[in-house]
């Protein structure tokens, strides 16, 4: 086990436990302030979008809007599937199938 990876895992474990335990330890009967709720509500959308966009638009490190960008093409199909089916399994399966097809046939 590399010590750098172990440090990452332990740090992640501590950060995760903190977010799960902090409110149980701090708040007993009072709630979270409204402004905090409003902010936290949008964190999942923000983090997902900020992970997805560079993965699809900058696969090689620079902006690529060309049809050779398989990640962008497969990403568009995947987004439509997600919208139509609302199924995580179907979305990943079809997305990967499109990606394999693009790789194999070199469209």
């Amino acid at each position: 086990m590399r010590s750098e990876i172990l440090l990452i895992i332990l740090g992640m474990a501590a950060a995760t436990f903190f977010t799960r335990f902090a409110c149980l330890a701090l708040f007993n009967r009072s709630g979270v302030p409204d402004w905090l709720k409003k902010w936290l509500k949008h964190v999942p959308t923000a983090i997902l979008a900020s992970l997805i966009a560079p993965a699809l638009l900058l696969p090689g490190g620079s902006l690529d809007f060309s049809p050779d960008n398989h990640y962008l093409l497969a990403g568009c199909v995947t987004a439509v599937t997600a919208y139509k089916t609302r199924s995580v399994i179907a979305t990943i399966a079809l997305g990967l199938a499109v990606m394999f097809a693009l790789r194999w046939f070199g469209v």
Binding site: M12, A15, R29, T45, I47, A49, A74
Partner: protein, 241 residues
């Protein structure tokens, strides 16, 4: 004394409730198996050993954060502080869940609170709150649900890591696309109103600009903060109208 009594009460009286927690979790658990498998495969794909991959699932037990960390490790060398900060941001939503459960758990000893907090993920939280809605809070029920999800998450990660080792060159197959595909499947259903779409657009633009012009992985944190704060402000404005 009171701690010991509460714990022994948990042992004796909580068994049927523990079983109910396990039983109610089973249908939902099927849904996390593919994620566990994907997590194991991706961990090995970006160069973690199977042991490191499984240890991450066993100690962190947070799917979204683990996928983000694995993505960051896959793109290149990255400092541990950056990954821990991203984990913290992704898991901030747990603060809200903890806050809503806190009133029901206020009488439990700190050690039991800590144990139950470790196992609080999106699904077990939802099941526990549903039980609160129907019959009231029960720690045994929550433990049953937490433990079922934990065991399945760790075993399916191990199975995925085992599979991943058998695929010669996962990147040539485009297997790394599994990550953005899964994130898209989670993101799209969240875009139900204008604020959600705006938050998504701001995050995407800031992340792409940041990835182009900022060092390291700062773009994830900066884009997430900018977009979520903007979302909070937009929401406040709508409420006032």
């Amino acid at each position: 004394m009171s701690t010991a009594r509460t714990v022994s009460n948990l042992n004796i009286e909580a068994v049927p409730e523990f079983r109910a927690g396990v039983r109610d979790s089973l249908p939902v658990i099927v849904g996390i198996v593919p994620f566990g498998l994907a997590c194991g495969i991706m961990g090995v794909t970006v160069g973690l050993t199977p042991l490191e991959t499984v240890l991450m699932s066993a100690l962190v037990f947070a799917g979204a954060a683990q996928f983000a960390a694995i993505t960051m490790l896959g793109v290149g060398p990255v400092g541990w502080g950056m990954i821990v900060l991203t984990t913290l941001l992704i898991n901030l939503r747990h603060l809200l869940m903890g806050a809503s459960l806190a009133p029901y758990m206020s009488r439990l000893p700190v050690s039991v609170k800590a144990l139950l907090a470790f196992g609080m993920v999106d699904e077990t939280y939802a099941l526990t709150m549903d039980r609160v809605r129907q019959k009231g809070y029960d720690a045994g029920y929550q433990l049953g649900s937490n433990l079922s999800f934990y065991v399945v998450w760790v075993t399916s990660t191990a199975a995925g890591a085992h599979l991943g080792e058998r695929i010669a060159n996962p990147l040539a197959w485009g297997l790394d696309f599994a990550m953005p595909a899964m994130f898209l499947a989670l993101l799209v259903p969240r875009l139900t109103d204008r604020t959600g779409v705006t938050v998504c657009a701001i995050a995407a633009v800031v992340a792409v600009l940041g990835a182009l012009y900022l060092p390291g992985k700062w773009y994830i944190i900066i884009a997430c903060l900018a977009a979520s704060v903007a979302g909070g402000l937009l929401e406040g404005k709508n409420d006032a109208q």
